[in-house]
């Protein structure tokens, strides 16, 4: 166990926990604020309660999943273009790229 004091204050687990709690409160407030603040919808449905929040979350989810799916076909090792294409067939082969675990 690493001593908390040795870490930068911003990356201490206790701070991160506080950040999560704080941001959750802010997120809840932005939605709850709609009970007192009127959002003028342009097309009707975009004035629904919490529409912005749900739309933002869902569209991001969709984009990440689409990117993930396309990544299955499009990702190549980063020296892909540096190597001569001797052994390659015309169609891109399915060299499965291993995900590294030290990302986050």
């Amino acid at each position: 166990m690493i001593d908390e004091k040795q870490l930068h204050w911003l990356v201490r687990p206790s701070t991160i926990r506080k950040l999560w709690i704080g941001s959750s409160v802010v997120l809840a407030l932005t939605v709850l604020a709609q009970t007192v603040i009127y959002i003028k919808g342009y097309f009707g449905f975009d004035a629904w309660f919490g529409f912005g929040a749900i739309y933002g979350f869902v569209s991001c989810l969709a984009m990440v999943l689409i990117a993930k799916f396309l990544g299955l076909f499009l990702k190549r090792p980063q020296d892909y273009y540096d190597k001569p294409p001797e052994d390659e067939t015309l169609a891109p082969s399915q060299n499965k790229v291993k995900e590294s675990s030290n990302g986050v």
Partner: protein, 569 residues
């Protein structure tokens, strides 16, 4: 003095030459003062065509002023100044000279009153931006520069074909609004769209820009795509096909940026994404939309350059440019981190930043045009921008894990340049009227209403939540993503190789056939004519043998009797 024909672009061209000639403090002075003189000159140009020259049978109009043209030229000049401040201590002189000439091309396009002048400056940009890419100095930069040059020279040829067609068809070289209705107008549109990094050739941007130096990419991010936006506003306002193309660019930029590992390539993809917003606006084509495209281009140049500057400092200090190798840099690079976050918030159009006050005009134009799907797509894209650039860039570079790197913060000049642009991002976000009064059409738009701010806060903050919830899905990998450039970097090479192989094997087959034919002919020759230089009669060919006199006499007798016989018949 006759200054009607003197485009402000010449000032930067002269400065580019001076940068090559002088050294030390004099060069620094040129780098910092020339953009300010250019800015002054830009604001001396009144509206309308200044003067015409007769060239061949065309009326060339080298300088034409209008609020729209001045505004684009203004931001280009500001960009040269701050970019020069950012780079003058570490960039090599030839890179700075090329960047100045490149910017001169962009400013020349701003004031070009006719298609021929526009084309000349357009090519000037292509040439000198290629040199800026080459200044990256690596083998990768050299190859990417060649691909970049081919793409842009090809785009220039397409544009030129279109211009010729329009000149032949209408007899006019005026820059005036048109629609893509026939072959030549389509060619002009395609030529411009190639520079705007539109599909299917968007790949050139993310291929070339990240190969340049940390300073070079700051200049590159500003000019080429934004002059293309200006040309679209001038030539194709309200062209409906642009809405579809723009929306594709918006989504393409997000998806590819999400897959990317290279820091500057993330930013390059988000250039395509942001230019997509402007292209959509030009496609909508109302006064509000064109105002929005102009304002967004202005704000975009500032925050995009700021992001590239922030990434540039990181690469300059650490020598690393992959998300996987970076992280935790906020400890020792607080200024770069804060400026990067401000740029990231601005690109995500957070309230109180320049992105909010400009991009929301485009959404408003979609609402006014009753284009519900366009509006919804743009709104989803705003959320996506926050996801791929707004959080992803600062998170992976400055936070994430501790990479153990403890680089120094930015040198004073780079820090100052970033502070200027970060300040402008916030200034235009808090006082949008400063920019609105300069726009080409009168602005009747209030960006801040409490309901709209709340809507965008919901949208953006929950996108942020999505980012952190989905983090496990976004682990960076040491990969690149295939794009349409695979077609010319791999498929075309493979096709050439197949053709080469076919040619080689058919060549070999032909050679074999030729050998056999040669041998056959030689055998015939030897048989009938004999080996050369042999005196031995036995080796002589059939025709070369000496025959006995008796045989010859017999043949002659035979011939003569045949002759006599024929004579009497």
């Amino acid at each position: 003095m006759e200054f009607e024909l003197f485009s402000p672009a010449f000032i930067l061209l002269i400065a580019a030459v001076l940068i090559c000639l002088v050294k030390g403090h004099a060069r620094t002075a040129v780098i910092l003062i020339a953009p300010i003189i250019t800015l002054w000159a830009i604001w001396q140009i009144p509206d309308g065509v200044q003067d015409t020259i007769k060239f061949l049978s065309y009326n060339i109009e080298p300088v034409e002023g209008s609020p729209l043209r001045r505004l684009f030229a203004t931001i280009f000049a500001i960009m040269v100044f701050v970019g020069g401040l950012y780079s003058f201590r570490i960039a090599r002189w030839y890179e700075l000279a090329a960047a100045f000439a490149y910017a001169a091309g962009a400013i020349g396009v701003c004031f070009a009153g006719d298609l021929i002048t526009m084309f000349l400056y357009w090519e000037l940009m292509a040439i000198f931006s290629t040199i800026v890419v080459w200044c990256g100095g690596t083998p990768g930069a050299r190859a990417a520069g060649i691909r970049y040059a081919i793409m842009h020279l090809l785009g220039g040829v397409v544009l030129k074909v279109g211009i010729e067609g329009v000149v032949v068809g209408t007899g006019s070289i005026q820059i005036q609004p048109m629609l893509a209705t026939d072959f030549s107008t389509w060619m002009i549109l395609i030529g411009i769209l190639i520079n705007a990094a539109a599909p299917p050739v968007s790949a050139w941007l993310a291929d070339a820009y990240p190969e340049s130096t940390p300073t070079g990419s700051v200049f590159l991010s500003a000019f080429t795509t934004k002059t293309a936006v200006l040309a679209l506003i001038l030539l194709f306002p309200g062209e409906p096909v642009l809405i579809g193309i723009g929306l594709f660019m918006v989504m393409y930029g997000i998806i590819f940026a999400l897959l990317e590992n290279d820091v500057r390539r993330i930013l390059a993809y988000s250039v395509v994404n942001q230019v997509g917003f402007m292209v959509v606006a030009v496609g909508i084509g109302t006064e509000m939309a064109l105002n929005g495209a102009t304002a967004h281009a202005f704000a975009h140049i500032i925050y995009k350059a700021l992001l590239f500057m922030s990434a540039g400092v990181v690469i300059y200090r650490t020598g690393k440019n992959k998300c996987m190798e970076l992280g935790g840099l906020f400890r020792t690079m607080p200024l770069t981190c804060v400026c990067g976050i401000i740029g990231a918030l601005a690109i995500s159009s957070f309230p109180l930043t320049s992105g909010f006050t400009t991009k929301s005009m485009i959404s408003q134009a979609a609402v006014d045009g009753n284009l519900m799907w366009v509006y919804m797509a743009l709104t989803a894209a705003s959320a996506g921008v926050f996801l791929h650039a707004g959080i992803k860039f600062p998170w992976f570079v400055f936070f994430q894990k501790d990479s153990g790197l403890r680089p120094k913060d930015a040198p004073w000049n780079m820090g100052l340049a970033m502070i200027i642009f970060a300040g402008l991002c916030i200034l235009l976000g808090v006082f949008p009227e400063l920019l609105y009064t300069l726009l080409p059409y009168p602005v009747d738009y209030e960006p801040y209403s409490i309901g709209k701010v709340l809507f965008y806060l919901q949208l953006l903050l929950f996108s942020g939540l999505a980012f952190f919830v989905l983090l496990p899905l976004m682990k960076r990998t040491m990969t690149i993503s295939l794009d349409t450039d695979w077609l010319w970097r791999r498929a075309a090479v493979a096709v050439v190789r197949v053709v080469e192989r076919v040619l080689i094997s058919s060549g070999e087959a032909l050679a074999k056939k030729r050998d056999r034919l040669q041998k056959f002919l030689q055998r015939l020759a030897v048989r009938y004519l004999g080996q050369p230089h042999t005196s031995d009669s036995k080796e002589r060919g059939v025709f070369a043998r000496s025959w006995p006199v008796g045989t010859t006499a017999l043949w002659i007798a035979g011939l003569l009797s045949a002759y006599v016989l024929l004579y009497y018949l």
